[in-house]
Symmetry: C2
Subunit: 349 residues, 2 copies
DNA sequence: TGTTAGCACTCTAGCGAGTCGAGTGCTAAC
DNA sequence: GTTAGCACTCGACTCGCTAGAGTGCTAACA
């Protein structure tokens, strides 16, 4: 059987209506609202076909139909295609969200929290945003300073001006001169390098160059490596989890608990972020419907994700989590606008 | 009317039973389990009195009784008095929680998250912990390093080894010598000072000492002050919010949403922390029952909080949020153990 | 005078029958 | 191929009933 033009129209009508009302939609409803001017009986016949083809479901014999995951998928693909068009055609207009974002975003963390908040408030769904992934990132600056006798603090700045700190306890006291030398060594060797490229041979070379301070430099470099790695569990900020209670189909005990759990244990969101990043073809917006989601706990939701770019090769992920019958249209535009906003922001400052 | 000994016993029996079962308890139940050997009729008479006195409630005529907030309060006060005794009598025993905590707690943030997690897992309630309040804290170390031409990074370490960073953009380039001088000046002047004590006169004096670099030092100090102040919104880590779904009386839509919201918008928890800190007489454990809670959204819960001490005058707050019929006994011991654990940990390392 | 047995009463939870109405599937006519 | 019509299905809701837990009150008892 084929998904001919009329079937498509009917399917879209069903889905749109269901997005609005959240209730199974019957043949009469469609026959009325639709521009097709077909009787309910005809619609019924078509609907029966659509059920056979798996695009819609019938909760029970005498209820209307609701979209299946496959149905949603069809709808979203349709929508995304349109969006693509739209984006090309229209100039990016200024956006009220922007002001809100800029306002007090002097620190990355605060900015991200604000973005998450803004997203959840604007959409009425739950939102998340991951801090940019520094995986591919370059070291910009390393500085060791003595804090106490046997204790130095390492400050590591990576591209994008994210700062990491690490306190290092050393066996024997370090004198000023050694510290200076070490700083020189670290900076000349490592500056501009991608973190991933710092391999054993480079470390070995540095140890060699450190000469008699090889012991100390080993300690320091280990600590620095540790610190860089330690932060690998990426930060994720969430907001608006309570929004799920606005949607009856998610608000039941079992499901709500699952979703909240996913939000709390950032681990699950981390998977989502990696999945998104790995699939992203520059600003690729991804829509996961129900079981498609990389996060099992969100099998009753739809998840829309997008990638933003902080700097060459430094990406982060934005996500919106809501019911399957979310307002995809709105969510897609919102998220698209936002990523654009972020990108242009980062490129400037 | 007076709360005589027998009434007390009956009241306690009612509350304990209710904590176990979560269901209204009738007179027959009490007459059986209790060591009082009274008939259900007598119990009924007493119960009627207890209702009059406001210690218990009757959901409807033919149901058993459940504790009122006042009843819980009586119970908790009783319990706390006993605890006080216990703690004095018994030596602090080693605790399996300790191992779990120490394990990988090389960073404060990670430690706190772990504590929260450990608490929520151990108790089956929701848990929160606030980062220590640095309000009263002393500066331990300041270091400015040049990162780029016109950009320096300030590293500020406060007692307890919390590190803060701030990137400072300066108008005109700073040379090495000036930077060294500034570092000296900052450290000699500010080290060991409580952050609160850094007032205008001290800053003025520093500017004077800086001589021709007064302009730069103003910038720097402003930035440092900014950075210290900026972090004043205290960090709060939460865990186990999903636990509330385990308790039917909290799991309904409305209430769950409120609680989750409180957990998400850390603002509300912040209030709780301040309230707790202001009332704390060293390790004071606080129990807020229902409406007593400083957080309106938690009016259907009980909240148990305690204060831990990281260092002289540096306090943080631990909290457990659960249903009113929480296992106060267990929660109180757990939280007491934990604060002790934290204290001894911090005093060592 | 405090305690207890007994009994009528109250109220909820749960069950089953009955009804309503939305929606279907099928057939026959257009 | 489309539509009108009609019997049928099935969940949601209502109503009445019952069982059972628990109460409050009274009267008897120690």
């Amino acid at each position: 059987m084929d998904l001919d033009d009329r079937k498509k129209k009917i399917l879209l009508a069903i889905i749109k209506t269901y997005l609005d009302t959240g209730e199974p939609v019957g043949s009469r409803t469609i026959s009325k609202i639709d521009g097709l001017s077909l009787s309910s009986a005809t619609i019924r016949n078509e609907m029966a076909d659509l059920v056979d083809m798996g695009y819609i479901l019938q909760p029970h014999t005498s209820a209307g139909r609701i979209p299946s995951d496959k149905g949603y998928r069809f709808y979203v693909d349709q929508l995304m295609a349109e969006k693509e068009q739209e984006i090309v055609e229209r100039e990016r207009e200024t956006d009220e969200m922007k002001d809100m974002l800029i306002e007090k975003a002097d620190k990355m963390e605060r900015l991200l929290k604000q973005v998450a908040k803004s997203l959840s408030v604007n959409t009425n769904y739950a939102a998340m945003i991951s801090a940019p992934q520094y995986h591919m990132n370059r070291l910009k600056f390393i500085q060791l300073s003595r804090m106490e006798q046997n204790r130095i603090v390492a400050v590591i700045v990576v591209e994008g001006n994210m700062i990491k700190n690490q306190i290092i306890d050393v066996e024997e006291p370090i004198d000023d001169e050694t510290l200076l030398k070490l700083n020189m060594l670290l900076n000349t060797t490592l500056n501009g390098m991608a973190i991933e490229d710092i391999n054993l041979s480079i470390i070995a070379r540095m140890k060699q160059q450190a000469g008699e301070q090889a012991g100390i430099i080993a300690e320091v470099i280990d600590a620095v490596a540790e610190s860089i790695k330690a932060d690998e569990d990426l930060e994720i900020y969430t907001s608006g989890a309570n929004n799920i209670f606005k949607y009856p189909e998610l608000a039941d005990n079992q499901k709500a608990s699952e979703i909240i759990t996913a939000f709390e244990e950032k681990k699950q969101l981390t998977d989502l972020v990696y999945e998104t990043l790995s699939h992203s073809d520059e600003h690729g917006i991804q829509v996961y419907i129900g079981e498609e989601s990389p996060v099992p706990n969100m099998k009753d939701c739809s998840v829309v994700t997008a990638t933003y770019e902080l700097d060459e090769g430094i990406h982060g992920t934005i996500g919106i989590i809501g019911p399957k019958r979310m307002d995809y249209d709105k969510v897609l535009s919102t998220i698209k606008k936002l990523t654009n906003e972020l990108d242009s922001m980062f490129k400037k400052g």
